[in-house]
Amino acid sequence: MNALVSLIVVAVLTAVAVAGAGARPSAFVLGIVVPYAAAAVFLLGIVIRVLRWARAPVPFRIPTTCGQQNSLPWVKSSPLDNPHTALGVAARMALEVLCFRSLFRNTRSELRDGPRLIYAENKWLWLGAMTFHWSLLAVVVRHMRFFMEPVPFPVLFALRMDGILEVGVPVVYMSSLGLLAAAGYLLARRLLSPQLRYISLAADYLPLFLILGIAGSGILMRHFTKLDVIAVKELAMGLSTLQPALPEGIGALFFVHLLLVSSLLAYLPFSKLMHLGGVFLSPTRNLANNNRMKRHLNPWNPPVRVHTYEEYEDEFRTLMKGAGLPLEKEPK
């Protein structure tokens, strides 16, 4: 049911784009107004959410300690799994962000005959997630060829590497296949496993259907239905140079692609896709375990008036002397 709701949303968006592509005024809205609005919502939404996160105080270090803490010099510590320096944290975060290290530890549990509970490693989700995210990055970098003129070297390099197998004309990009296969796997996993289907919400399916729609329409345009790439770049460059214009001869499928991308961008700051920024702000990963090495002041502590022993002695020194009590400083 949840999956169906999301599928209907994507189908409605597709229908809107197909209907709007035909007439010039509605194509102008779909090709220029909607992408600008989506980009604005995307940027502002992310900035506002991250600023809200940035205001949170960090009173104490709460990293997940997955290894031996740094202590005495002869106790071997685990610098990646229990970092106590900024460098260690940077390495831990890099592995987390670039290699999804936490997900690599994914396990599954099963009840076998006996009854006997067994645990086993489960790398499929990690493999699917890695393929999906890296393919998506390659796809985004490749698409910069439409938004930049002259096409800069890193983008040309990405295009070359992605199509290095030189299969087909135009070349089939590895990331197209990777994205489609991995997103398909991530969807199939939610639909086929009863436990996962039970906990999956419409908000879990919507990004998957959107991305599958985007990848599908992109591959269709590149390899099957074909379109005037020069006109598409003219449109994209119009957006980049802030001199938007709508060239003639762009097919309906392109507007479907563009509206789904715009929807994904505008939806991102309000959805679980904000893990894009959130992954960098995971306190259990991005804090050094140095609670015992440094003093961490709690920013919301009210100022406390204290009366130290020195001040106490200063106040009562003569009386204490008279009573014969031991003193730290003798009166002059």
């Binding site: 930049m148 003129e149 002259p150 004309v169």
Partner: protein, 127 residues
């Protein structure tokens, strides 16, 4: 303690990357206009209609290559009955005799790197 400073630095990097098309376009003084092509003066009709040839010329050339190299079949008849030799050098480049002012203009604009010139000699290099 707050980590606001570090978070703001990260946010600035994100914004710089996310708005890269805008500042790149203004730094590189890009124009939004599509490239202008040197069209052949003598011949106004290509082997297929303009929209088709624009979108699918690479597939046509790929088919031609396979048919010529593997099957030795060189005869191409257009849907409207004109006959051509299936040859990049002798048919396409006969009219489009300047690679730099025709092929490259769009390919560079779109970031496409055709593999034609791995084997073929560009017409302007012959002279």
């Amino acid at each position: 303690m707050h980590d606001t400073g570090k978070i703001l630095a990260g946010l600035a990097v994100f914004l710089a990357l996310a708005t890269s098309p805008l500042w790149y376009a203004s730094l590189a003084r890009s124009s939004a206009a599509a490239p202008r092509l040197d069209l052949p003066a003598a011949e106004r009709r290509c082997v297929l209609p303009r929209e088709v040839i624009r979108a699918s010329h690479m597939q046509l050339l790929d088919e031609w290559r396979t048919q010529v190299v593997r099957d030795g079949q060189r005869d191409y008849v257009t849907p409207d009955g004109r006959r051509f030799d299936k040859s990049l050098t002798r048919t396409c480049l006969k009219c489009h005799s300047n690679e730099k002012n025709f092929c490259s203009r769009c390919h560079d604009y779109a970031g496409a790197k055709p593999v034609c010139w791995n084997c073929h000699v560009k017409p302007e290099d012959i002279k």
